[in-house]
Structures are given as structure tokens and as C-alpha cells.
């Protein structure tokens, strides 16, 4: 009986140690399979958070989906995003924890409030923007291999003059978009006006869908709080037509217009 007991104990110990060893191996090797995910790359960025953002790119092994996990820490809490995407964004889970008070040395933050958000039609644009930003951290290395996100036919400068016919010269604004392989920049100049933004675009056939990415001038424009949608540029084999909700709100009293761009 004692022999059986000690054999069972021995087997138990062997199983336990082999599990522990496996766990340790997984911690050490980033390419080791973890819940059918392969960690491809990870990085820590310090931008829009006081305590840094860790971004990890995984690949699922059973299909072609990719996953980006983002863990951001602030003074008052933390936030975890999980983006699942393939060609398009497939799903998002966003969990935010708010601490009872800000962190300080040797503090143990207690969570006051927890919020969970998933992908819906109303937040799809917001999450797509965020995914693009995080994805670009890893795509950056591919740029070095001369990979471009947009086809070359779009490269160039596009411009038009808003209120060109106005009697009051102060209403006249020069608006341009410059597209090259590394960036898309929007610039609006005029009387007491200087707006400089980085945009990003999604290309589909002869259409570019533009969205705000970054204010290069930190101007905190009021219209950006209303929309970050820079609309679409469509080429109809003759003209480049720009439908732009941001311009409509900012310069056109909210009226929808199509702006004809001159390409240089």
C-alpha cells in the first residue's frame, strides 16, 4: 500500500515539475505557442500616457487573424485593448480600470470603477483609428523595405481655395493635402488660420478615405472635436473630388459640399 502511495506521489511530482518547466520555457521564448498565439513583436511607447504603453503583436496559428494587445498605464488607472483583425478590424475588447487615487511610491491602487467596451457600429471608427496607430508601430519596419501603404498614383499635392470668390479676403483659405510614401499631411492657411494635421488613408479602387491622425501644430481646433472625418477623395478620370465633413463644419457652416482638388 505504501509503495502504491509513494508511486502516486512520485508521478504527481514528475507531472508538476514538467508543467512548471514548460511554463518557464514559455516565459523565456517569445515565439513559444501561448493559447494558440505567436508573439511576433512587442514594444513600449511613451506618448499619450504618463506611464507608458506596451503594444504586442500576435499571430493566431489556426487562421490568418492577427491580434494586437495594448496595455496602457496612467496616473489614475490602466487600459487594455485587444484588437483582432485580418484585412479589417474584426473585434475589439477594451477594459478600463480606474483607481481610487493616483499612484505613488509603495501605493497599492484599488480599482474604483471598471468599464468594458466591445466593437459596435458607433465606436468602429474610433477603434479603427486606434488600431491603425498601433499597427503602424510594427508596419514601420516594413516601410524600410520600401513597402508603401497607398499606390503611387496618389502621391502628390492636392489643393483648392475655399471661398475664392469672397469679397472679404479674410474668408479665403488655401487648403492642401500632400501625399507621399511616408505620410499624408493636411494644411490650411489664411487670415489668422494655420492648421497642420497628419492624416491617414484607406485606399479602395479610385477612392481614398481620409481620417485625422495627429495635430502637428497642437492648435486644438474646435472643429476637430466635432469630427475627425476628413472624408473621401474620388478620382472620376477627370477631377479629384473631395467630400470632407471636417471642411464642411470648419469653413462651410456645416453645409455639405464637394471640393474640386487640383493635383500637382
Amino acid at each position: 500500500m505504501d509503495k502504491i502511495k509513494s508511486s502516486v506521489l512520485l508521478i504527481g511530482l514528475v507531472v508538476l515539475f514538467s508543467c512548471k518547466y514548460k511554463e518557464r520555457l514559455q516565459d523565456k521564448d517569445p515565439m513559444v505557442k501561448k493559447d494558440s498565439l505567436f508573439l511576433i513583436k512587442d514594444t513600449v511607447i511613451f506618448g499619450e500616457s504618463t506611464q507608458g504603453t506596451e503594444v504586442k503583436l500576435f499571430k493566431k496559428i489556426n487562421n490568418n487573424d492577427s491580434i494586437i494587445k495594448v496595455e496602457t498605464f496612467g496616473e489614475m488607472g490602466n487600459s487594455n485593448h485587444t484588437f483582432i483583425f485580418n484585412e479589417k478590424l474584426l473585434n475589439v475588447v477594451h477594459i478600463t480600470n480606474y483607481y481610487q487615487e493616483p499612484i505613488y511610491v509603495n501605493s497599492t491602487p484599488k480599482i474604483r470603477k471598471k468599464e468594458k467596451e466591445s466593437l459596435t457600429a458607433s465606436n468602429k471608427d474610433k477603434f479603427t483609428d486606434l488600431l491603425y496607430e498601433y499597427k503602424s508601430l510594427f508596419i514601420h519596419t516594413e516601410h524600410k523595405k520600401n513597402k508603401v501603404l497607398l499606390s503611387q498614383k496618389w502621391f502628390g499635392s492636392y489643393s483648392f481655395t475655399m471661398n475664392e470668390e469672397s469679397d472679404d479676403w479674410r474668408d479665403v483659405h488655401d487648403i492642401s493635402i500632400t501625399i507621399n510614401k511616408d505620410s499624408i499631411n493636411y494644411l490650411a492657411k489664411g487670415y489668422q488660420l494655420y492648421e497642420s494635421y497628419r492624416l491617414y488613408a484607406i485606399e479602395s479602387n479610385d477612392t481614398l478615405k481620409l481620417t485625422f491622425k495627429k495635430d502637428l501644430n497642437n492648435a486644438n481646433n474646435w472643429a476637430l472635436k466635432k469630427t475627425k472625418n476628413f472624408g473621401t477623395i474620388t478620382f472620376d478620370n477627370k477631377n479629384y473630388n473631395w467630400v470632407c465633413p471636417y471642411i464642411d463644419i470648419n469653413f462651410n457652416d456645416g453645409k455639405n459640399s464637394t471640393y474640386i482638388l487640383k493635383k500637382e
Partner: protein
């Protein structure tokens, strides 16, 4: 474009266009100490380039809204940041030199009411006072996308934490970093 036209066409042609500029009153603040000794001592440890903006911000909020703000976190040393980094459960990805607090360029504020802070209430209070912080040139963490950090304000003069670390290596003292 306007300046060039004035130059070529003469001042008289455009003087009406500039009339509105005379009406703009630029408030440069008076950089006085705040109502709160704790806050004043924390301001003393900030980078000299942001001290006046922070004082003006806190005084402006008190004067215009009757809200008494206290700085609850200001300058944090590299060593203190490293302690935070080692804490578990994890509360930061930033080691010493990776947070703007380590260069005296960031603050966290909260309203003091009857001597205490009600963090539930801060959700709304901090959104109300944020435009005044921005007016004094501070960037607000409440507008960040990855984590909305409402108590946080900072002024980095376009420098990244990497830039600041490099500058600190050259100048040895964070208060002497040229900004």
C-alpha cells in the same frame, strides 16, 4: 500672405483688417503663489520653465471658478519611478527617465474640498477646469485616447522622454534642461 500684401500695397489698405488684433487682450498671468502651501512646495520642484504656467493655471481656476486645486503629484525622481516600475501588481511601463514627471514637466491635480479629495467628483470637476489648463499652455491627459488621464497636465515643449533623458545627461540637473 497678409504681411506680404501689407508690404506691397501699403499699410492704409489693410489697417481695417488688423483692427481686431488691438482687441485681443493677452493675459500673461502674474505668477503668484497659490492658495495652498503643499501645492507651492510641489511647484518649487517643477522645471522653472513651467512654474509660472502652473501657478497661473491654479490661481485662474480659483479666481474664475472658485475651485481650489492641489498638485497631488509633481516631480518624481528616477529612483522613485524605478520603485513604481518594480511594484506588483504592475502599475507602470515606465522606468526612471521614461515619464515626464521625472523632468518636472508634469503634474496631477485634484480639487480639495473641506480638506479632502472626492475622486468620484473629480470626473466632472477636472473636465471643467481643463480648458483653463490648456489656456496656460498645458496639455491635458483627459484628451488622450489610449487611457484618459484627467488629473494629468504636462508641458513638454515638443520634447520626447528620450530627448529629455539625453538633455539631462548633458546638463546633470533637470531644472537646467534648456526648453
Amino acid at each position: 500672405m497678409v504681411a506680404r500684401e501689407v508690404y506691397t500695397e501699403g499699410l492704409t489698405l489693410k489697417d481695417t483688417a488688423f483692427r481686431c488684433i488691438e482687441e485681443i487682450v493677452i493675459d500673461r498671468g502674474n505668477c503668484l503663489d497659490t492658495w495652498d502651501t503643499v501645492t507651492n512646495s510641489r511647484i518649487d520642484k517643477l522645471h522653472p520653465k513651467i512654474k509660472c504656467s502652473v501657478k497661473n493655471f491654479i490661481n485662474d481656476v480659483e479666481k474664475t471658478m472658485g475651485i481650489k486645486l492641489r498638485i497631488i503629484q509633481g516631480y518624481r525622481t528616477y529612483a522613485e519611478q524605478d520603485v513604481l516600475y518594480r511594484q506588483r501588481p504592475k502599475i507602470t511601463n515606465a522606468r526612471g527617465g521614461e515619464s515626464n514627471h521625472n523632468f518636472g514637466l508634469a503634474i496631477d491635480v485634484a480639487e480639495i474640498k473641506n480638506g479632502t479629495i472626492d475622486w468620484e467628483e473629480q470626473e466632472t470637476v477636472l473636465s471643467k477646469i481643463a480648458p483653463i489648463g490648456k489656456k496656460w499652455g498645458l496639455a491635458w491627459g483627459g484628451e488622450w485616447k489610449s487611457f484618459v488621464d484627467k488629473p494629468h497636465f504636462e508641458m513638454t515643449f515638443g520634447k520626447t522622454t528620450r530627448d529629455l533623458r539625453d538633455l539631462l545627461e548633458t546638463h546633470n540637473d533637470y531644472t537646467k534642461i534648456p526648453l
